[in-house]
C-alpha cells in the first residue's frame, strides 16, 4: 500500500472526538454481539454438557422431559438388567432410577422460583462424571438430608451447609454442596429417592439413567426397549436429551440477539458512513494533492477504507474490553422444558471476542466503502480548488 499508515492513524487522532464517538458506537454494537453470544452460549453449555454421550436416559414414551414422565418400579428394574449397561467395579450395573419434582423456593432477592428436586441413588453421582462434592458430605440414605448444587447455594435464600430446608412438610438438613461444572445439576437439590417417594407421595420413578458399556450399543438397546409393548418407554442419548431441552430457548435467545445486533449494526454503519464522509469532505484538497502527485485512485480508495477499518477495529477492541467483565456472571432463566429455574454463567470465549472484532471490521468496511470510493473518484482540479 503506497499511502503510509501514519497518514490514516494521525488523521484519526487529529479528529479525536469524532473518532472516539464513532468507535464507541461501533464498540457497543460489538459488545451486544458478544454479550448475546455469551448468553446463548452459556445457557446452552449448561444444558448441553449436562448430558453425556456415553449415558442413556429412559423415560416414558411421549414425554419430552423427566417431569412428565412415569417409570414404574417393575419397568425400571427390567431396564436395569439390560446387557448393554456398563458395570461398576463391584460388578453391579451402572444405572440409577430417579424421581424429579419441582419445588418453590425463595431466592435471595425475595422472589420465588421453581427448583428441581431430584431423588437419587448411590450410583447417581458416579454416572455423571462432571459432578463432584464441593463442600460438606453426601447425604446418608434413609435420613432427611440433602445436597444442593452450588448455583443454588449462590442464589437461593438459606441454602448453605448447615441450613434446613422445608420440603413436603418436613425439615431437611443441607449437608453438602455439589459442583456440577456449570451444568443443570448445579441448580438442583439431591436426596434419597427411596425416602422422597413416600414423602412426595410419588410411588413411581421419573427416569432411569444408565452408562452404556459401548456407545455404539445404544441403537440395539433403544430398539429392544422401545419395541417392548409392556414397557412403553423412550430411550434417548443423555446429551441429546438435555440439548433438546435447551434448543428452543437457546435458539430464541440467539435469534433475538442476532436480530438486535444486526439492526444495531446498521445504525452504527450509518454513523460510520457519516463520519467517513465528513473525513473525506474535509480532506478534499489533500486527496487532490495526492492524486496530482501520482498516487493511483486505487491507493486512495484503499487508504480511506483502511482508515475506516482502523476506526472500527478500535471500536471492536473497546467492545471486547467491555465484554470481558461479563464473563462468569451468573444469571438465570426458566428452562421451559422442565419448567424450572436454571442458573448459568455467561461464557465469553476467545472465539467470541474474535467474532466481535471481525464483526467490527466488517462494519468498518461497509461504512467506509462508499466514502472511500467517493474520495477516489474526485476530479483532481476540482479537489485542488476546494478550500
Amino acid at each position: 500500500m503506497s499511502i503510509p499508515l501514519a497518514y490514516n492513524l494521525r488523521n484519526l487522532y487529529a479528529r479525536k472526538v469524532s473518532t472516539l464517538l464513532t468507535a464507541l458506537g461501533i464498540g457497543l454494537v460489538s459488545w451486544v454481539f458478544i454479550f448475546t453470544l455469551a448468553l446463548a452460549g452459556g445457557f446452552q453449555a449448561a444444558l448441553q454438557s449436562t448430558g453425556s454421550a456415553r449415558n442413556a436416559i429412559v423415560i416414558r414414551s411421549g414425554s419430552t422431559a423427566e417431569l412428565t414422565s412415569i417409570v414404574p418400579r417393575e419397568v425400571a428394574a427390567q431396564v436395569e438388567t439390560q446387557p448393554e449397561i456398563a458395570r461398576a467395579p463391584d460388578g453391579a450395573p451402572l444405572a440409577t432410577h430417579e424421581l424429579v419434582v419441582l419445588w418453590n423456593l425463595e431466592r435471595k432477592n425475595g422472589t420465588t422460583a421453581n427448583v428441581v428436586v431430584r431423588g437419587v441413588t448411590a450410583k447417581s453421582m458416579a454416572l455423571r462424571p462432571g459432578v463432584r462434592l464441593l463442600r460438606g458430605r453426601m447425604f446418608r440414605p434413609g435420613l432427611e438430608e440433602v445436597v444442593v448444587g452450588k448455583l443454588l447455594e449462590e442464589r437461593m435464600a438459606h441454602c448453605s451447609v448447615g441450613d434446613r430446608i422445608k420440603l413436603a412438610g418436613r425439615q431437611w438438613a443441607i449437608v453438602g454442596v455439589m459442583d456440577a461444572g456449570g451444568t443443570a445439576f448445579d441448580s438442583e437439590i439431591w436426596g434419597d429417592v427411596e425416602l422422597f417417594m413416600p414423602v412426595f407421595d410419588r410411588p413411581v420413578y421419573q427416569s432411569v439413567t444408565l452408562r452404556l458399556d459401548e456407545p455404539s450399543h445404544f441403537a440395539a438397546l433403544q430398539k429392544r426397549l422401545e419395541s417392548d409393548p409392556r414397557m412403553s418407554v423412550a430411550v434417548k442419548r443423555e446429551d441429546l436429551f438435555y440439548e433438546a431441552q435447551s434448543a428452543t430457548l437457546a435458539t430464541l435467545l440467539r435469534g433475538l440477539g442476532f436480530f438486535v445486533t444486526l439492526v444495531m449494526a446498521l445504525g452504527a454503519v450509518f454513523g460510520a458512513l457519516n463520519t467517513m464522509y465528513a473525513a473525506v469532505g474535509s480532506r478534499t484538497k489533500e486527496i487532490g494533492t495526492l492524486l496530482a502527485l501520482g498516487f493511483s485512485r486505487g491507493s486512495i480508495l484503499l487508504s480511506f477504507l483502511v482508515e475506516s477499518v482502523l476506526l472500527a477495529l478500535v471500536g471492536g477492541l473497546i467492545g471486547c474490553a467491555m465484554a470481558l467483565p461479563v464473563n462468569g456472571i451468573t444469571t438465570s432463566t426458566m428452562n421451559f422444558a422442565s419448567f424450572s429455574e436454571i442458573a448459568f454463567r455467561f461464557e465469553v470465549t476467545p472465539a467470541m471476542l474474535l467474532a466481535g472484532i471481525v464483526f467490527a471490521a466488517v462494519m468498518g468496511v461497509v461504512g467506509g466503502f462508499f466514502p472511500s470510493r467517493k474520495a477516489a473518484r474526485r476530479v483532481i482540479v476540482e479537489a485542488l480548488r476546494e478550500a
Partner: protein
Amino acid sequence: MKYLRLVLANLLRSKRRTFLTVFSIAVALFLFCTLRTVITSFEAAMRASNATRLVVRHAASLVFPLPLAYRERLAQVPGVTGITYGNWFGGYYQDPKNQFAQFAMDVSTFDALFPECVVSEPEKEAFRAERTACIIGRSLARKYGWKIGDEIPIIGTIFPGEWRFTVRGIYTGATKDVDENTLFFHWDYLDQSLPAGRRSLVGLYWLRIASPDLAPAVSRRVDAIFENSAQPTKTETEKAFQAGFISMLGNVRLLLTIIGSAIVFAILLVTINTMMMAARERTAEIAILKSLGFGDGRILFLVGAEAVLLSLAGGLLGSGLAALVFHESDFTGGGFFPNFRVLPETVVLGLGLALVMGIVSGIVPAIQAARLRVADAIRKVA
C-alpha cells in the same frame, strides 16, 4: 414557525447526512420498541388478568394437583361468588414445535368465570353438548386455518397419546390484551380417559369474588382451610399468579433493558458526532446570520431545532415502523409471545426518547453556535 423553512433548508443541505442520521435514529428506536414489546407481551397476561379472579393451586408446586373434592368447600368460602376448575394439558399439534396452551375446563362454569372469552351462544351450546368438543381462540384458528367442524389431533405430553377434539366454537378476546391462542376442552373428557388411580385431580381452581379488595381476605381464608391437609393450597390474585411466571424468567427483563440501553446510547453517540460535524462546517454561515441581526438566542433555537427535528423524524419512523410491522401480525416467536403487539405507550415512550436524544445531541453544537463571535468567524470566511 417561520423559521421552519430555514431549519428545513439547512437539514436538506446535505441530504445524505440528514437521511443517514434519521435512519440511524429510526433503527435505534425500532429496536427499542421491539425489545420493549418483548417485555410488555410477557406482561400481557398480567394486563388481561381479572382483578375479581383468584387462582388456587397446590402450595408446594404447580406440578402437584388438588383434589376435586375441594370444590364444595371452596364454593362455600365467604366472598366467593363463582368457581371453576381446569387442568393444563400441555400438548402439541403434529410437531413439538407447535406448542400452544390447552386447558381442560369444567364446561358448566367456565364461561361464567371467563367472560372475556367471547363466544356466540349457539357455539357455546354446541361446545357444551359434545364431550369431545373444543373452542379455540381466533388467532389460533387463523394461524392453523381451523374452522368450526374441524377435528384437531393433539399429542399429549403429560397425558400421553393422541387426543382428538372437534372445533365447535371460536372465541375472541373482549380486549386486545386477552390471549386468543388457547384451546379449551371438556374436563370430564380428560378425567374419564385417565386410569382409575389418577382421576378427580384438578390442576387449578379459579374463584370469583365480589370485588377486588376482598382478594387478600378471601385468599387467606382459603389457604387457612387447607393449611394442614395433605394438599395445602396457595391462593392469589390472577395478576400475582401471572407475575410469578414472569419472575421465573429471571433476569430476562434486566438483560433486555441492558441491551436496549446499549442500543440507545450507541446511537446517541453517533448522533452527537454527526451534529458536531455538521456544526463545524457551518461556522461561516452562522456568522453571516449573526451579522444580519440574528441574536444568540435565535441561533441557539435554530441549531437546537434542527437536532430535535431530525431525532423526532427518526423516532417517528422507527417507532411507527415497529408498530406497523407487528400490527395484527401472527408473530409469536415460536409460541413464546402469544400476543406480540406494540402498545401505544411504547410508541409514545419511543418518541419521548427520540426527543431526549435530539436535545442531548444538539445541545453542544447549539451552545457553541450561540456563543460564536461574529468577528472571529468572519475572519475565517475571508
